[in-house]
Symmetry: C4
Subunit: 230 residues, 4 copies
């Protein structure tokens, strides 16, 4: 079942090591079929060079395995929380990519310092609050998703398609698994440049709001003019 989505999710997973975002098995991508209410996700702890499209696991929105011989990613419950709360997203990625993880470890968001950031993310990429002992000792992966959703209570997940989980690492999402990976790659690059911008100029202000509007909106929304018309 869901062979096309499995192929998409598989390819998106394989993009992670190719882009230098993961070491060993440290990342996972999923995609959702909204009509069927089913999520396709990478199996847990399988090496990328042994991974095949048919290894992808199908789970329902309660996290129960519907199809597949392997255990789904240990982060599956986090993905599911995001799909439930963010109705317009079609793919989710989790990595420990180094620059995004550095900000997560420092408990800081990634400010928007330039148009590279503004072309993709409409403002600062937030970092969650620390999780409580109860959340950590409870259904940890599900609670991780909930703390992300809480972080976005006043933010639009379509405009800011990434988050840093404190002392952990990034999650990103997009309209499909491929776009979610694209956002992971961009996040890593803008996090790196933000670090060095802050180091080169102490107390750097975020970028001009007009410039942010200009760049985000020339790529997104009704009046976008970047790229080729579809």
């Amino acid at each position: 079942m869901l062979e096309k989505l499995k192929e998409e999710v598989f390819k998106a997973n394989m993009e992670l090591p190719k882009r230098g975002l993961v070491l060993y098995t440290w990342g996972n991508v999923s995609g959702i079929d909204r009509e069927k209410g089913l999520v396709v996700i990478k199996p847990s702890g399988v090496e990328y060079d042994e991974l095949k499209a048919e290894d992808m696991v199908v789970v329902d929105l309660d996290g129960k395995v519907v199809e597949g011989n392997l255990r789904p990613s240990s982060d599956t419950d986090t993905h599911i929380e995001l799909y439930k709360a963010f109705k317009d997203i079609g793919g989710v990625v989790h990595t420990h990519s180094e620059w995004a993880t550095i900000f997560a470890q420092a408990g800081k968001g990634v400010p928007a310092f330039g148009t590279t950031h503004g072309d993709y993310f409409y403002g600062e990429i937030p970092c969650t609050r620390a999780m409580t002992a109860e959340e950590i000792k409870g259904r940890y992966e599900k609670e991780t998703g909930k703390v992300i959703v809480e972080t976005f209570k006043d933010l639009n997940p379509i405009e800011i398609s990434a988050v840093l989980v404190k002392q952990h690492g990034p999650f990103t999402w997009g309209k499909d698994p491929a776009e979610a990976v694209y956002h992971s790659v961009v996040l890593e690059q803008v996090a790196k440049m933000a670090y060095y911008t802050m180091s080169l100029k102490k107390n750097s202000d975020p970028m001009d709001q007009n410039l942010l509007d200009k760049h985000f909106l020339r790529k997104h929304g009704a009046n976008a003019y970047y790229g080729q018309s579809k």
Copy 2:
């Protein structure tokens, strides 16, 4: 038309990902035929590994497409402003290469700290002023070109063939598209080394003026003696 220039511009564009200066579609190179007053430039938002020489778009100096089925780069108007103001240049490059962009985000020029810099750039590589709300909301890409030209009102664009647009990233130029790319590569390297020089020695002075003269002039101008005689 302009098949030879299209080939040059295409090859120069392909050098950007090869040299690690761009992610995805984040860069563009153009070249000009001064006699015909036509500019050849990369199409907007096309992946490098799908790009072909015949995809290059020909525009006139008003930015109107003269030949080509694809939209030209969204930065075309900036390139045109540079060609109009800097009469001796034949190629222009725009990237978001990371170290140059870091300086642009911090709003700082790249000081000349050593002979690597002095071999190619005759002094600090300047950063533009911030653009005004009117400029950003108006013909933004054209205004970007104008603010670059303003930055060079007392500088010689042949001696300093690069600029940082504040909160955005670098533009470089050269006698042809290939040299413009060469300058982007060198800019990235000297920006990286400048960052760490400033970090290793707070309040570093720029390099000795005699040494800068020596290195720039042994490579450029009538008395150059680097390389093979042509």
Copy 3:
């Protein structure tokens, strides 16, 4: 003799340059056959691209060569001390990988700042004390092993499978040579991220203890649920 272990040790050694952990001949991996009390180790100063499985040297626990035409690694005595003190380990690695070495040169341990660290190491990776003049002038490599063992007098080497030798570099270990190399790769990554975390947020606290418990124990021990069941 010990052909299978030689092959394992050889392959683990070849992983070091592939993972970017060594320049030239700057690293060595060994494995132990606990029943026979014999250690298989890389020969000293042989280039990786000339190395063959049959070049591996077999030594006993006094460091005497039992088989092999080449001299064993100059660090052999350090490996032996670790095997003697840490009864449950099967492989040892020494490298001068850059980030681990930077912490060793600064004389600092690598704090646990996030779940990437906590997934593999159950707390800070310690740095040894400086060695005394007597230790350095005596049986230096053996004394290096002893100072590592001293550093672990209140630590569990299975829970923290890495150490930094002050002003020198890292040693790691594992249940076999491959896992010991895996720990070297992870150490390098978490050391790099720890450096930048400390730089981004001065006086960063180590990660929450509950979160460390959660991550270490979901991968290790009786209740682990990461990966596939074996």
Copy 4:
């Protein structure tokens, strides 16, 4: 003439881009035939991927071309000064490798912080004084050599086989061209690690003298025991 030395010098030059020490044509290696008093050096400004062994230029110790159709490296006079002053060296390398150049631009030597450094360099790698206006305007490349030699008036160039020319970059040397390149690679690595060591621990002391003695002397001199006996 000197075909074997040309081959050695050619191969050593080709190692520079392979090891990531040069961009474009920014480096040169030479070798000397002490009996004939002739130096073989890379031609000026030739791309590495077009370079052939027969392009190597032969010059005498006055810098006059004895054989070759191309101009020798513009840095030839610096190499010659080193060969004249340091009688036991057989190869010289100049690059603008980034970390060594960063220290040169900051005008700082590279302190010995750990055994990686001590295995190859017997103490701090010095940075020259700034050159005077007269030296820069005079026979600049020859004067560059002289200021290096002046820097070593109380140092042994066999024990410390590298120098940083202030606001310029590194020169290294060795018993032959290959060893000179090896020292350039090691210099780059130890410079990088020294930078981060200093950043991680302000006012870091150099390494313990006993440890430096131990490591340098276990690899060099009569009592060396690293590697295989020859």
